[in-house]
Amino acid sequence: MFKVENLKFRYPKNKEDTINGINFDIAKGEIFGFLGPSGAGKSTTQMIMIKILENFEGSIYYNDKDITKFSDEFYEDIGVSFEMPIHFTKMTAMENIDFFLKLYKNKGDVESLMKRVNLWEDRDKMVGEYSKGMKIRLNIVRALLNNPNMLFLDEPTNGLDPMNAMILKDMIREFRDNGGTVFITSHIMSDIDQLCDRVAFIVEGRIIEMDSPRNLKIKYGKRSMTLEYKENGETTKVEFPLDSIGKNKEFLNLLQTKEIETLHSGETTLEDIFIKVTGVQLKDEE
């Protein structure tokens, strides 16, 4: 659906490229994540893909057509949610939504969207009176109100409480399950891990690694099994190699004879993999 080839971009006042020749593609119906610290080039890449930033090098194709050849009608097909909640604060939520809705040919079901993000009851409140979480949820409604085929989400759950973050993630999955394609930029590991079919690690404008979270965990994970058991009132921890674990007599013996407290495979988290692959901490950037 999207194909990015050797993309390079430099801001006019910068001496160095912010994006350094990246390549990736996004398949239809895929949730593709861009993971990296602040300043890595995530949002810049998104701004180029949604045709806000121009004068880039390389090629970007949307449905096999060069995006520079699209007119403003391109925006009939996509939905964008920026990281910062952006609304007219002295207007009500519905006044905001109604105004934007009129600009599109394709109009979504606003009532069900607003109900889904628990904003229907507060639809006639001034957006200036909304909490940050409510404004972020309204951002999502705004992004979905034209029934887009492609959704761009910049740090979608940043600032949301766990309950609303879960609702939002469910909505993103449903959007994908109904045939939609999603591009997410985030530095929040759990979002990427839970949502994305594939993820690219981006640091200093370069893609360092790209694969599904599962494959990355297999590739970089520690192939081991850690078992904790209780003996004489004390907890003992033992680690076994995962290969041929079913034939490991010591492991099987412990399972049969001891009071097992925990049993974990040595699966590495995406965060550990990110640090291992890029040498960059994500959380420092939050």
Partner: protein, 244 residues
């Protein structure tokens, strides 16, 4: 494009109202009205065109500057950039809505004085004068907003511009600067040109080449400013102030 432009214009007018600009505009017109109500007919004949001029020029710069400041502070322009709306539609809608809005106060003032003080106006020429003066200064205000970083910046730019441009006009009115050469040279000043086209709307104005020169200057100058500067620079302005 036509219907979408109208949606954008209506949206701009709605926001002007929500952000209290309509109230302020009517309040200013009311204060001018009260002041003019108590002056005698002779002074009214001089002051009313001047008040209309101030409203169409300085106040237009101020209103559009304020509106664009609000837009900057809320970074709403970024959301507009990802809709199927073109930059030309966005810019034109601002120009049309602010021109319509600012013309309202002038129209109100004139209507009141026509009714209660029997002021004589040439309707066609006063309408042309107010439209062209307001639209050209609204466009100037939009361009000034490109360079203003904050609200103080907006105020400073408008004040410096107005002071610089009003001074020769006042000097000319007080006959401190005299002569036809100056009268023509100073038409390069958009406020002076606006004064000429607005004055044509009041009975007693004598039409000379200066009227057509002023009208052409404001009209073609604005078209050139729109086509060669305001529109090409709009995307840069929008990205800088999009907050993303």
């Amino acid at each position: 494009m036509k219907s979408r432009l109208w949606i954008l214009v209506k949206g701009e007018l709605q926001r002007l109202n929500k952000y209290n600009m309509t109230f302020i505009s009517i309040l200013v017109a009311f204060l001018w009205g009260v002041m003019l109500f108590f002056v005698n007919a002779e002074i009214l004949g001089t002051l009313l065109p001047l008040v209309i001029l101030l409203d169409a020029t300085m106040m237009s710069l101020m209103y559009v500057g304020s509106v664009m400041y609000f837009e900057k502070s809320e970074a709403t322009i970024s959301t507009m950039l990802v809709t199927p709306v073109s930059n030309a539609e966005l810019l034109l809608s601002k120009l049309l809505a602010n021109t319509l809005h600012n013309m309202g106060a002038s129209a109100l003032l004139i209507a009141v004085f026509v009714i209660i003080k029997d002021v004589q106006v040439e309707y066609l020429f006063i309408i042309i004068g107010i439209i062209i003066a307001t639209a050209s200064h609204t466009l100037l205000g939009i361009v000034m907003a490109y360079f203003s970083k904050d609200f103080t910046g907006v105020l400073m730019t408008v004040m410096v511009f107005s002071l610089t441009m009003m001074t020769p006009l006042i000097l000319l009115m007080l006959n401190i600067i005299e002569g036809e050469v100056w009268e023509v040279v100073l038409l390069i000043n958009p406020i002076q040109a606006a004064k000429e086209v607005i004055s044509a709307g009041f009975t007693g104005y004598v039409f000379t080449y200066k009227y057509y020169l002023s009208l052409g200057y404001l009209l073609f100058g604005s078209l050139a400013l729109y086509k060669f500067y305001a529109l090409p620079r709009f995307q840069d302005y929008a990205i800088k102030n999009s907050g993303v």
